[in-house]
């Protein structure tokens, strides 16, 4: 009967696109805000 595709960790009803936070084919959670690289002002890169 296949798989319940709602259980693969993707928010299929999301109004937003999924690919910007797609965490990869083996991850069962989308990327969190701290996982996604962002083009922050260079001054924020404080290291």
């Amino acid at each position: 009967l296949g798989t319940d595709l709602t259980g693969l960790g993707l928010n299929l009803n999301s109004q937003e696109s999924l690919h910007p936070t797609f965490a990869g084919p083996f991850a069962d959670q989308p990327c969190r805000a701290q996982d996604v690289d962002y083009n922050v002002p260079p001054e924020y890169l404080i290291n």
Partner: protein, 148 residues
């Protein structure tokens, strides 16, 4: 009606290579830039901890509900990420201003005594990330060229 089909020699060979690779699956952090503090390495937490994040986590509104200290933590420990960006936006909405030379967040404690085109001067609260605490600074000159 196609029924099962036997793997050809070539496919069996491919399967062996796949199987060998299966024991060294890529982990999420293999695909992420090296960060100083937070790697994308999921840690198994007790099942009764929330295992999935709420979709609202990704919004400025959510970050505005976080305490100032939390926002500073996100800002300084999740560098270069969307979380840092959202934390900065939430801080600005709470009248914090980022000083690009000291790389610290300042907030007016009262109306500045002097304001002109180049700077303002007065008493400020600032967050010192080295001592990890908020401090008051009197007679501080905030030069606008350092205002992000």
């Amino acid at each position: 009606p196609l029924g099962p089909s036997l793997l050809s020699k070539e496919h069996q060979m491919q399967f062996q290579m796949m199987e060998a690779a299966y024991y060294h699956l890529p982990t999420p952090s293999d695909s992420e830039k090296l960060t100083t503090y937070f790697h994308r390495t999921p840690v198994q937490t007790p099942a009764h901890y929330p295992q999935s994040q709420l979709p609202i986590y990704d919004t400025v509104e959510f970050y505005q509900r976080l305490s100032t200290e939390t926002l500073f933590f996100v800002f300084y420990y999740m560098e270069g990420s969307k979380a840092q960006y959202l934390a900065a936006k939430a801080l600005k909405k709470q009248s914090w201003r980022f000083h690009t030379k000291y790389m610290m967040w300042f907030q007016r404690h009262e109306e500045p005594k002097i304001i002109n085109d180049d700077y303002e001067q007065g008493t400020y609260i600032y967050f010192d990330y080295e001592k990890w605490s908020q401090r008051k600074k009197e007679g501080f000159t905030f030069e606008y060229k350092y205002l992000e």
